[in-house]
Each structure stands twice: as C-alpha cells, then as structure tokens.
Symmetry: C2
Subunit: 300 residues, 2 copies
Amino acid sequence: MSILVVGSVALDSIETPFGHTEKTLGGSATYFSLSARFFAPVNLVAVVGEDFPKKYTEMLVKRNVDIKGLETAAGETFSWKGRYGYDLNNAETVETRLNVFENFSPKIPTEYKRSDIVFLANIDPDLQSYVLNQVKRPRLIACDTMNFWIENKRKTLIDLLGKIDIFLLNEAEARQLVGENNLLKAGKEILKLGPKKVVIKKGEHGVLLFSRVSVFSAPAYLLESVYDPTGAGDSFAGGLIGYIRKSGRFTSDSEIRKGIVYGTVMASHAVEDFSVKKLSSISYSDVQRRYHEYRRLTRF
Amino acid sequence: MSILVVGSVALDSIETPFGHTEKTLGGSATYFSLSARFFAPVNLVAVVGEDFPKKYTEMLVKRNVDIKGLETAAGETFSWKGRYGYDLNNAETVETRLNVFENFSPKIPTEYKRSDIVFLANIDPDLQSYVLNQVKRPRLIACDTMNFWIENKRKTLIDLLGKIDIFLLNEAEARQLVGENNLLKAGKEILKLGPKKVVIKKGEHGVLLFSRVSVFSAPAYLLESVYDPTGAGDSFAGGLIGYIRKSGRFTSDSEIRKGIVYGTVMASHAVEDFSVKKLSSISYSDVQRRYHEYRRLTRF
C-alpha cells in the first residue's frame, strides 16, 4: 500500500540572505518523498544523471524511499539555481539546466503499477497523463502544476484535471488558471474544471482546501526563522498525501483536513534549514509534536 | 456594565474600484461602536462639527450606542478622503482634514467613568493617557495606534503600554514598533513593552494573538467580494472587546480566542459594503451565523 510519486530529483544551488548552497539535493519528488515517508512507503520515479552523488541515493534508501524507479541517464542531473531576497515568498530563478530531465519519459516499474495513491509532481502534463496510463486504477490521484504549463499546455492540463482527486497549486497559479483574482471564487471555478478537491497554497499565509461540500482555511505554522523555502510546496503535498494514505480514508473531509495540517507541519520543518537537511533528519515524534502545537495555535 | 470607546467620528469620502462615497459616516469610534453594540452597551466619546448630519446621530442612538459623550464643536467634522486600488490592503490617503478633531480633548461624562472596559481607538497617545486618568479602575483597557504615533510619540506610547491589557496594531506597525520583520518575534518583543496581550492584524491574512502563555493564529473569514476595507480594524476590535465584555471572563485565554473570531466576523461584515452600511443593518443572528460558518471553515 504505497504512494507512487513521479517528479524531479535535482541538484539545487540556492542563495538566501542567510547563506547559500551548491548542488545540494532538491527536486519536487525528493521533497515529497522525504516528507511522505513518515506516513507510508514511497515509490519514487524520476531521472538523475551520472553525476548524481551516491550519498544522496543512499540517504533516500535509508529514509525508506524505494528508488527502483530512479533511473540514471547519460548526462548531468537536472539543476536549478535560485535566489531569495528578504521576502522569502518569491524565488528568482538564476539558471535552470534541464539536462537529463529534458528527455525524461517516466517508466513505472511493474511493482509500482498497483500503488493505490499516485502523486504527479510538477512536470509536463503530457508526462503526467503518460504516467496515469501506466498505472492500474489507483484509489487517489493527486497532481501539482506550475505557471509554465498553465500557459503552454493549458488544454492537456485541463483534460487531465477530470481524472484528479486532489489538485494542488499556489495562489498565483490559481488566479492565472481561471483569470480570477479572488481566491474563494478562483477555488470554486477550478473545482468546475474537474478535480474533486483543490488545494491553494499561499506560502506563509497558509492553505485553502476546496471540496464540493466545504472550504477549509488553515493558517501556516508560525516560525521565528525561515532559511530556505525551496520545496515547501512538495513537502506540504508529502504530508497531505502521506497522511491520507496512512488514515486509509481517502474521501473523508475531516481526514483530508487533518492531512492539510500534516502538510503544513511538514512544510514548516522543510523551510527551517537549507535543502532537505531538516526534512531528512527529523523523527516522527518531531512531526507529531508540531501537529499538536499547531492545534494549540489554532484552536478556539 | 458598558464599554467606553474614545476615538474619531468622521465623514469619509472613499473611492474603490467598485464605487465611491462622499462624506459618509466613518471614524474609528463609529466602526467600533456599531460592531461592539451586538454584545454590550457602548458609550461613545468623540467630537463632531456643526455640519454632522443628524441622521447619523439618530442612527447611532437607534443602534443602542450612547452618545452623551459625543460633543459638537464649532467648525466642521473631521474628514478623510481615501482611495483603494484592486489591492484593497492599502489605502492611499488623498486628504485628511482634522477640523474639530484638531483640538479634541476627550471629556468623559460622569456616567461613563465607571465603564469596566475602555477601548482607546487610534488617537494621540497623550489623549489616550488623558482618558485613562479620568476613568475609575476599568477591568480591561484595550488600545489601538498607528504608524504616525509610533514615529512621533514613541515614548508616550510605550509608557502607556504598561497599562494596557490588549494592544492592537497592524502588521506593518508591529514591525515598525520593534524593528523586527518576523511577526512571531515582533509579537513577543511587543509583549515585553508591557501589554498583557498583543493582537497583530494582518488584513485578509487574518490575525495573531500573543499572550504570555500562548499564540493564536486565526485566518480571515473568506469573502467573494470586498467593497470597502475602511474600518475593518475597528470593527474587528468592536467584536473582540464586545465579546469579552459579554462573556464576562476578562482574562480567559479561550474566551479571548473566541473574541478574536467574533472580531474577524465583524470585520468581514464591515467590508462587504461601503461605509457602515452593512454593519448598521445586520442583525445578531447574522453575526452568529457567520461565527458558526467560521468554525466550519477552520475546524479540523
């Protein structure tokens, strides 16, 4: 009963006012996996180049991430170079090198094909569809996207949304997708495009969850220091999808709300250090402790 | 067992992308009173000019606001002209005419001097102190301020804070007051200046409440249409202080959290129409209904 994630594994170089990193582990599938692993076994499908450090694959295996689906291709690993100012909400991309990711065609290993949850991290919607064609009736399909696909692969993306149970996107993408500035209206409009649930991520301002029956608003966990916001969204998705898998109640509104809170907790851990440093070193009791702190923070 | 509020009563001219108004009822004490009246009797102290329309004083009286403390002085009423763009978070002041407000020296009627709650709306901290010297041991003192006083009357303001139970300010003011960008740190720093509780208002992103024992984070109520954000902060304060007065439990953390939610509910009503139009026309059942909707919006 595993979660299948398809996305990127990258080497990130990041600069923030608090420090910088060079070619450290990043990528949507990486953050997702290191977050979801606290709740359920994770099967990862992605591609890296020959330069990908062995210590990273070893670390992932040690953290209970199945990497049979992590292909090594000739060439260099996808790399992203980004910069954040004091306003950590917006990343400035300095350089993107797709490298082996350019010709990525996700092949789902036979053992993965019966995964009951599939998370399609932010990749080309054509590839996301291609993945869905290879798996056997998953019980829940979740999907992320980005502004580039909304602009350039709109039709494919919208066709895909009819098959999606949980669609995640950030607030700017939500506004862009339906041309509506008000997020309450935008969320409802996106539901009409097909997904059963829509999650709008607002960074430090929290998350909105839209379903046919209700809206849920969850503020972010409060932190005194944010060092590196990279991967917050995918860590969030890992907590959300991981918790839903663990609870086993795939359509329960109250369980999905709890999942949103676990996602919030995982994102808050992820941003407290560079790269996946904190996400890969915390324990499940750290996750639980913060979940209970979040309850105290929001209960009335 | 009333609430005493001292602040401004104004004639506002407001322009937003959704319409405009000319010389309609505004002012911090007005919004506060029309919000708090749902929970407890309100005694208003402010000054207006001879031009102040009788229909407004009549409306206030009908809404259960005691206006014995509303002085009429020779000259014109304080008027504010403001403009909002599509980003309704920031008002641009086109013109401020202090008029009779310039020489406002709040005189507290004898019947008001035993009010057990005092709300010092955003006026000169010298006047706020002057008010406190006239009242007899209130059980709770709450106070608002603005960037101008933080900059120009810093010492008076900080001296005052030692007497304050609940100090309200918006996020930019909080950052400015203690020179700290992170709101969690800023809230804790402000507590050190003396107030027992600090409320940081974040507009559409909700509210943070800091006390010695806990932090509470409340997202805003979600609205499809915001027409005029003027007075949102004072309407919030009215709901918060009003509810605390009604509950009678002036120091209970859980009651103050509920007050924060009632404040959020009142602010959400206030911004759904121009001036005090909606705030003056809703009923208590509208308030209660939205309180329960907010619970559904945030519960997990």
